[in-house]
Symmetry: D2
Subunit: 228 residues, 4 copies
Amino acid sequence: MYVLAINFKTYKTSYGSRAVSIAREADLIAKEYGGLVRMILLPPATEIVRVANAVSYSSVFAQHVDPVDEGAYTGHITAEMVKEAGAVGVMINHSERRVRLDEISFILGKARKLGLETLVCADTPEVAAAVSVLNPSMLAIEPPELIGTGIPVSKAKPEVVTGTVSKVRELNKEVTILTGAGITTGDDVAAAIRLGTQGVLVASAVMKAQDPAKVIKEMAESITKTTT
Amino acid sequence: MYVLAINFKTYKTSYGSRAVSIAREADLIAKEYGGLVRMILLPPATEIVRVANAVSYSSVFAQHVDPVDEGAYTGHITAEMVKEAGAVGVMINHSERRVRLDEISFILGKARKLGLETLVCADTPEVAAAVSVLNPSMLAIEPPELIGTGIPVSKAKPEVVTGTVSKVRELNKEVTILTGAGITTGDDVAAAIRLGTQGVLVASAVMKAQDPAKVIKEMAESITKTTT
Amino acid sequence: MYVLAINFKTYKTSYGSRAVSIAREADLIAKEYGGLVRMILLPPATEIVRVANAVSYSSVFAQHVDPVDEGAYTGHITAEMVKEAGAVGVMINHSERRVRLDEISFILGKARKLGLETLVCADTPEVAAAVSVLNPSMLAIEPPELIGTGIPVSKAKPEVVTGTVSKVRELNKEVTILTGAGITTGDDVAAAIRLGTQGVLVASAVMKAQDPAKVIKEMAESITKTTT
Amino acid sequence: MYVLAINFKTYKTSYGSRAVSIAREADLIAKEYGGLVRMILLPPATEIVRVANAVSYSSVFAQHVDPVDEGAYTGHITAEMVKEAGAVGVMINHSERRVRLDEISFILGKARKLGLETLVCADTPEVAAAVSVLNPSMLAIEPPELIGTGIPVSKAKPEVVTGTVSKVRELNKEVTILTGAGITTGDDVAAAIRLGTQGVLVASAVMKAQDPAKVIKEMAESITKTTT
């Protein structure tokens, strides 16, 4: 099943009733394309409870967790907390929230113990290869310079995507590989899949859209057409 | 009105039903001591929604917010979000989550615009004095080496508390000053008030207690006896 | 005596023989304007030894030191080290290398014990005021958005400079206040002094100049004309 | 050739004349065991110039470099600078100075272009495996909890060393693997080599010794006996 992952970031639409409304719209599309598209929603930490309560056909992931256990860690977000709040997975190492290598390893180990899925972002094929050795559930290749530009990596730097696929597959046959950065249209999604990845990680194209549901639907439709 | 601020940190009791239950117990005590004790609860980011929904007589503060505005900041917690989730204030610069000086200033300015109260932690009288120039609503003096020890700063280093009060009051007559670090019993709370501060910031003494309500009640009672 | 502080940063000219050559040229000008202009040179850590050995009329400051004592701190730069290497002062909290408030306080205390002068950068009048409470030897006001632009803060935002002077002088009569960010010409230096500061902190205008000595000389000359 | 790498850290002996004196003693031993032991010295950034000038038979590495190029990066240490100062290699990601995964990749790429060797530290076999995919010249396995304890990893956790060797060798046949953390005696060095690594990374055992030369000589002797 191909993945459509929506990173809410901290946009104006990422919290409160707007966030819940986008989540509900995405969830309806997840229902419609069930079995063909896996919808992953990544709200900010404060909204995991509300988004998780609002959806039934989508998976909720945290945008980040800190590399700490339960204890005296004021202001931190633990994997235990996001799980309790309703998340079934965690994303880490997004270009806007990089973590150290030892922290990636720590969080992956901890998430596995807690039964949480993991999605690790990488900026280059080399970094993606290194990450793949640590066995996350998924990884996303996102050249930071294209994030938020509307210029899809699949068009601007297809060799980054294909290079990631080939380098990662030498080391890890199972990790789900997503394409991120600049994915805006159904065509971009199709290109990402044709380049060998198993889905996309999007943000501004949905969260800043006039009609987020329309964009999500176009992307889900494109996944379906490209993969069936 | 004197302050009893409870930092949930990321203890095992800080999230899920246990957190809501402690919040409800604290809220009943806030009701009982209304007008004499101001109860401030600081749950982790994921629990602000649930804790804020569960209480009526207490103020909910975030344990931390990041120095960013709305936008492309994956994995960050903004002041806007915590406000929307139900917080009326934010704590920053706890010793377990220090921020830079320019970030303290940025967050204070932003919180003011959003109508959020602010509580800034400081490790020494000198740092407290510098913070007081930035006009937070409250500041807490907490020598990091005593946090979580059960040895109250009011007993181990009373001169840190009195030094803070005298240095800060030269610069800022209005900021509410709290004593933190090692506050465990009603007596510690009374000592903090006698040293010239307007309340306490506690964590492990409540969150790791067998009977959190009993500890909170003892502290509220001590505030009442000491200040009336 | 008015200050002309040159931050070498990590420009191509900041290390090796080019750095030593700029330092020697600046030192000759320091000699020429002795008694009127205090020349402060801030080479990168690796070059403190060579620059300090090359000059006689200038003061060498480190661009940054880490908030640690002697011990097991691989990869850190301590105040003890830069002193041993020949520095007589340390700059901290430059916008390209911010440190936390508790760290500023720690480093200032440590530098005082070691007999090192201190220069703390600040981005706003409010932050400058907070810093001034911690009693550094000098502080520099530098709006980050103007650094490296060639647009002098004294022209683009004179109210930031005058606001800093008035806020800081309420709290601290003795700290030397420098103007930074975009200072490019002798006129910019004159404007900075007329706005009430005791000198300038410059970088690209000198380090990226075809003829650094010419720029330094023009600035020294401007200080002399403006202040005598 | 087996490696004896000495991390000066920021100990009292790490800078000034004491550092140069230890470097000279190590260099004499490097001369004596030339062809059998490769001596790598890692002084702090401020001392690279002096240490590099003082030795002839040893390689000087930086303890850390920042992930930046030449430019406006006040307070940073670049790979270009440490090379110019006399280093032929850089260590990164020591447990006392961790860097992010994307930064490790960036620095390795840059060091390769500059002709600098690279040594990357790792805390677990998993992290070491991930690092090995990025092709550093060397990597060191150092469980942080043993660093500075005098309890050698080769004795306390031999499975960490052998696990690293087996995991890394599946992915990278060429990288030199060093054992670090708690290495104190010649016997510890011998054990590290018998477990399959090509040398050791030591610090306190030398830098805090009454007679550093004696310790270095014992270790060099042990390498020679174990490997010939």
